[in-house]
């Protein structure tokens, strides 16, 4: 994301002719960004630098602290728990994100089409879970999943079926995907819906008059028009997935055995830092995780640009 943003304003600046006194005014620009940048440096860059520094050391319970260079990073790359967590999140990404964004897109299109009854209320209902803190959402779903007394299991049993083991080893990842989907479909929908609303109606009204179906209009006019909004939701979802923390941390108390320490990479970093008391290794893991996220975001962006070029050709 960052990469392409650099040249965008630059190009634009090059295009616009320099106005008189630009230099004088430009100094004022610093003053505008200064308050934010001061806090940004203090709350993001300094801790990040400190974390980088920590990742180069090793502290043993016996023998104290020693500089070890990149040893922590090398270890993390061989660490089954860390790699397992990253792999699990990749699976999460491949399954949950398309479902969530597909639902969000479908809802946004359906509501935007004006063909749904009481669409305003439906939109509000879909957006409501975003107001529910992750802590509360996870607590709540935890009860709903309960194997003997949860309403879902009750429903299955009433139908004479065996309820799925939603908190067991086979079901827990799916259950977690469901919680995240429930929480964020509405949020993504709002982003897409907002973008849909800003497409000039002329673009597709003509097509409608020509007799194109709503589905066709959605596929060939609306979706391409809001591609940037969809990309934004994809990138945020990639970032969000790899940083999953609240859900495993809180499900850990109701499904303690299946939620392993390395269930998600972020949860692993937390456990390494606070349970294993290994701040240095945790810092290395967090850095590698950041790297994975940056690479994934870049790949997503690149492939989308490639796809777009193909479409244009």
């Amino acid at each position: 994301m960052a990469v392409t943003t650099v040249d965008a304003p630059a190009r634009r600046a090059a295009r616009s002719k320099p106005s008189r006194g630009k230099a004088r005014h430009s100094a004022v620009g610093y003053l505008f960004v200064l308050p934010f940048m001061v806090l940004f440096v203090a709350m993001v860059l300094v801790p990040l630098g400190y974390s980088a520094y920590l990742s180069l050391f090793e502290e043993k319970l016996i023998g104290g602290e020693a500089f070890v260079g990149l040893k922590n990073f090398a270890e993390a790359l061989m660490d089954e728990a860390f790699l397992g967590g990253v792999g699990r999140m990749a699976l999460f990404l491949v399954i949950q994100v398309p479902i969530m964004l597909g639902l969000a897109l479908f809802l946004a299109l359906a509501i935007d089409s004006g063909r749904t009854r009481a669409s305003r209320s439906a939109r509000l209902l879909a957006f409501m879970p975003y107001a529910v803190p992750g802590v509360v959402a996870t607590l709540m779903w935890g009860y709903l999943y309960g194997p003997d007394f949860g309403p879902i299991a009750q429903g299955f049993e009433a139908l004479g079926l065996t309820p799925p083991d939603m908190l067991g080893e086979s079901g827990i990842l799916g259950s977690m995907m469901n919680i995240v989907t429930w929480e964020y479909v509405g949020y993504n929908m709002i982003i897409m819906y907002a973008a849909l609303r800003s497409i000039p109606t002329e673009l597709y009204e003509a097509a409608a008059i020509d007799g194109a179906s709503q589905i066709r209009i959605a596929l060939s006019i609306k979706i391409p028009a809001i591609r940037p909004a969809i990309m934004l939701t994809v990138i945020f979802s990639v970032i969000g997935t790899f940083q999953l923390f609240n859900e495993p941390a809180l499900l850990d108390s109701i499904a303690p055995v299946v939620i392993t320490n390395g269930f998600t990479p972020n949860f692993y970093a937390y456990n390494v830092a606070f349970v294993n008391q290994d701040v240095n290794y945790a810092a290395a893991i967090a850095f590698l995780l950041g790297l994975v996220i940056a690479v994934m975001s870049y790949v997503v962006q690149l492939s989308s640009q490639r796809a777009e070029r193909k479409v244009r050709r």
Binding site: L61, I62, D148, F149, A255, T260, V275
Partner: protein, 445 residues
């Protein structure tokens, strides 16, 4: 940037100071005890203390303490239970800022704090003379490696709580006395009532460790310096785990995760006909399974060897004074006073239902002879007081029990949950512990 730099500089200065203090107390331990006038002066100087504990309503005991010493002002903070509490404690110690003066510490975590020299040796303040006031095995937990590191508060000698009605339905008037009988009873209970005789929570290493403790095993050891002993996959340990694995695989004992809503309900509705649980179990049940009042009984654990009765311990806490405290005398007196004086200790037992560590309460007829309606009028306290006397007196811990427990859950716990091969998972657990200890620079025996 500049600000952060200055802050870092300050913290270095601060750390320098506290290191100096540590040196001071180290010398003090060699010198004679704190003199009476020193004590009097400390206790009559206005002082603020911070006390981290998660014992509910401990404010009542602290209020009594403040009444006895009006100049001392104690702030009680509940920073979380169990792991969360220790994480915060360690973070505060690490950063050299914000650590309390006195903190609740469960027995198994004491070595991990003495390792980092974070606790004050209480011997020079008079703690060395308190040993005879407490049960022997409890005192052995706090008085290790030539120091006294905490004052015992409560304990958890293991017993067997069971549903008398369900056992009767299965044909038993008395609880099984040996493990062989227990296995047989498990079969009868399952066949005749459909219940499990008990639940061995897969995520409860502390329960398993207590059962190993009962079996006379010494899976852990620490010499107070750089050497640890790790022996979790001994033949004895494998026998114990094999026993439970067999029951779990035959579906006679469940291995559901503990402390979940599901687990609470299974207790309340009799799906579990019993629970091998420490002395804090009875009051816990009364809050959880109110509707089953009068249907419960308490007994000692089943035995491996019918001729001698032994038990282990699960849980219980002590109060320790942090080495970083600026008011060691007042802090020590707080830890001692609430856990040694008759009024607060009786109150712990009668109102918070902590199972006492102090002999004075354990031997007090008012405590032991009380009948409990929930247990059909049984004198539950007396039963557990007797069990307490049978706990194996020697049991040690590793200075990294957080890792040991979390590693147990990832190995043995997973195997139990899946009703798989928990016995060979003991080897994995052993391996992980040895690897971790070696990595951390310990010598492993």
């Amino acid at each position: 940037m500049a600000l952060a730099g200055t802050a870092a500089a300050f913290s270095i200065i601060a750390t320098g100071c506290s290191a100096g203090d540590d040196g001071g107390t180290g010398e003090a331990s060699a010198s004679p005890e704190v003199a009476t006038d020193e004590f009097d002066e400390a206790m009559s100087t206005p002082t603020k203390l911070t006390f981290w504990t998660w014992v509910p309503d401990i404010e009542n005991q602290v209020a009594l303490f403040e009444e006895a010493y009006p100049e001392i002002d104690v702030t009680v903070e509940n920073v979380g239970q169990g792991l969360e509490h220790y994480q915060k404690l360690r973070s505060a110690i690490e950063s050299g800022e914000g650590a309390p003066d006195v903190a609740q510490i469960e027995y198994q975590y004491i070595p991990s704090f003495t390792l980092t020299e974070s606790l004050l040796d209480l011997t020079p303040y008079g703690a060395g003379e308190l040993g005879s006031d407490y049960v022997e095995w409890v005192w052995n937990q706090v008085a290790v490696n030539d120091g006294v590191w905490a004052i015992p508060q409560d304990t958890g000698p293991m017993g067997n709580l069971y549903r008398t009605d369900i056992l009767k339905e299965a044909g038993y008037d008395a609880p099984p006395a040996t493990y062989d009988e227990y296995a047989e009873a498990a079969k009868q209970v399952k066949e005749k009532t459909g219940s499990y005789i008990s639940n061995l929570a897969a995520n409860e290493p502390t329960q398993m460790v207590a059962l190993l403790w009962q079996a006379g095993l010494e899976p852990f050891g620490y010499d107070g310096a750089e050497t640890v002993t790790i022996d979790v996959n001994s033949d004895g340990a494998k026998d114990v785990v094999q026993y439970w694995q067999d029951l779990a695989q035959a579906d006679l004992v469940s291995t559901d995760a503990g402390w979940t809503d599901n687990w609470f309900q299974n207790i309340a509705n009799g799906n579990y006909a019993g629970w091998l649980v420490p002395a804090w179990g009875p009051i816990f049940l009364q809050g959880t399974a109110e509707a089953t009042s009068g249907k419960w009984g308490a007994a000692p654990l089943p035995q491996w060897d019918a001729s001698t009765e032994v038990s282990g311990n699960w849980g219980g806490s002590s109060d320790a004074v942090l080495a970083s405290t600026e008011n060691p005398i007042a802090a020590y007196e707080l830890a001692r006073w609430i856990n040694a004086e008759p009024e607060p200790t009786t109150m712990f037992a009668q109102e918070q239902f902590l199972f006492p560590a102090a002999l004075s309460v354990l031997e007090d007829p008012e405590f032991t002879d009380a009948g409990v309606e929930f247990f059909g009028g049984q004198q539950v306290n007396k039963i557990f007081a007797e069990i307490s006397a049978t706990v194996n007196p020697e049991f040690q811990w590793l200075p990294f029990m957080e890792f040991a427990y979390s590693s147990y859950n990832e190995t043995v716990g997973v195997a139990l949950e899946k009703k798989g091969d928990a016995v060979s998972a003991l080897d994995d657990w052993q391996q992980q512990l040895v690897d971790y200890a070696t990595e951390q620079g310990f010598t492993v025996q």
